[in-house]
Symmetry: C2
Subunit: 339 residues, 2 copies
């Protein structure tokens, strides 16, 4: 069965392309195409498995029924899960998803946004590198529909769906304090990401609020591209010498996993000697030795809400464009912070 076009249907049925197009777009009634003709068109199209060329359709309509998704890295389980929920929700609304990874690189992100706009995506969902303030401002000014997720620009009014990083980190730290830990370290990623700043802040505020002495030497910020080797040094510095810690807060899952590896290789007993807790988790954190406590992010809600906001915006251009959502994380207490 070879490919069939609108024109073919029109010719075969001795009708115009207009009539066929109208009927196939469910606008036959309002355009007074007779019931009989509608039936003939529908049946013929069905029988020959007609599928409109979406490029032509998109060009004509100026839209593509596609949502662009830009994340730092699709192989990070956190973003993969969000992507999965976004895809699912988008399909409910009739949209496809094109994705790309920026690898935390501002220039790449810039090009991806550009490229997706050229491909006529109808809207964007971006977990930004947060190094493209101007780009995002331009997007906003052009009135193009988009939603930021996971990371947002505090200085720009935009739609966003993020989690309460400050509150989550504060809660984690307070839990450790409640367990009687007195010298709590923080291991994070060296980054301008607001999420990371907020997590550090949450940790610091918890420390101060509880009358403990903040110690900048207890805070290690590792280089993203080299965190594994820097982790070795960071852990060493934290567990040896006079000021060794009795607990560590990790600001993201892969740091916690890597940190635990190093703690083990130094022969540290977790949680007896050092308790640990992680912001966000990996799939098997409950199986790890010891099971790692974590503040879990609501990935499903992040994805669903982002799509809902975006679709609203795309389909009703009057929708306000600073729909802000800050979701709560969920504290999962496991053995790694001392029962």
């Amino acid at each position: 069965m070879k490919k069939i076009f609108l024109k073919d249907i029109a010719n075969e049925l001795n009708l115009s392309k207009t009539a066929v197009s109208l009927v196939l777009n469910n606008r036959g009634d309002e355009n007074k195409i007779s019931k009989n003709t509608q039936k003939r068109i529908l049946e013929f199209a069905q029988k020959h498995n007609y599928r409109p060329n979406q490029m032509a359709r998109g060009l004509s309509l100026g839209k593509s029924e596609t949502i662009g998704l830009i994340v730092p890295n699709i192989s990070d389980i956190f973003y993969a899960k969000i992507a999965s929920h976004i895809e699912y929700k988008a399909k409910e609304f009739g949209y496809n998803v094109v994705f790309s990874s920026s690898n935390e690189d501002a220039q790449t992100e810039h090009e991806l946004i550009s490229s997706m706009l050229n491909r006529q995506v109808d809207g964007l969902i971006i977990a930004s590198t947060q190094k493209n303030q101007n780009e995002i401002l331009k997007l906003k000014k052009s009135n193009f529909p988009f939603v930021l997720i996971d990371r947002h620009y505090p200085d720009i009014k935009t739609n966003y769906v993020i989690v309460d990083n400050f509150g989550g980190a504060k809660q984690m730290t307070e839990h450790l304090i409640g367990q009687g830990r007195t010298t709590i370290g923080l291991i994070s990623i060296k980054s301008e990401l607001d999420a990371m700043l907020q997590r550090k802040l949450g940790y610091q505020v918890a420390i101060k609020d509880n009358g403990m002495t903040p110690n900048s030497r207890a805070i290690k910020e590792l280089n993203f591209f080299d965190y594994q080797s820097e982790m070795k040094k960071a852990i060493k510095a934290m567990v040896t010498g006079a000021k060794s810690v009795d607990a560590i807060v990790f600001t993201t899952h892969y740091l916690a996993a890597s940190g635990l590896r190093e703690l083990r290789s130094f022969g540290i007993d977790v949680p007896r000697e050092v308790a640990i807790i992680s912001f966000d988790e990996l799939g098997a954190f409950d199986l790890v030795d010891p099971p790692i406590s974590a503040s879990r992010q609501p990935v499903k809600d992040i994805g669903n809400i982002a799509v809902e906001i975006l679709v609203n915006q795309m389909e009703d251009k009057n929708e306000k464009i600073d729909n802000k959502r800050v979701l709560k994380t969920e504290l999962l207490i496991r053995k790694s912070c001392g029962v």
Copy 2:
């Protein structure tokens, strides 16, 4: 700065759309557009940040510079990693990636293929449900470029990139035998997937080859959509009663994780009482208690090779279309099978 079109450039520079189009597609020289004119066009386009509308371009060229990727589930870390490598490699060749998840549903997969073809993707990479033999045959007959990954149809000659499931499973089982285990169970997913059949076969052949008595009761095949609750029963059946096992082979990572949870809840000492090993792994399998041995799949190679084969096919229609690659898995021995 407002959007600029080919026509605008032509008008501003007093040239034809043809000239501008040719130059911007790097075909100025071969079409004898003077150096000076080329320079004017290029500079003007650059200065006004001209970006061609890919819908129009795609419609005209009959292609989209896009690869479609269909996987069972993008939130499975295995597919997420493959997706990431595919995206990276595709970009090297100038292609974008659209992805969708079939959720192991044949009908969904069918619709996704259809939808992607309508969107004029230039090629497809599919980790198929393996329930769409006809669909794949049609694709093949239409001469449309595609590559199967992870799962293939043994009865159809197509491009594919898979791993040696039989060999990997056999090797895993043999390792357990080498460790002195004598009653080895298998927990798999109830499925017609060739990959799963091959893994079971590898296990069975290893059992027989080593003079052990195959015992069909030692093989449990769980329902994909309900494996967590069925796991409880399966583990119970395996570790209680007369014929209890001293080792279990899991045919995929999430089964191993789930199985370990259940073994623990039954108070089984892994690996002393029951050793376990998993086909494929999750990110933190080395941190789990005990660290889980696994046969790791070469996700990067799977992605890279799939893209390479596909691009070859897309750009040279004469390329043969049964480029078959079977990659080796890598056995990672950890504590879960008894040091």
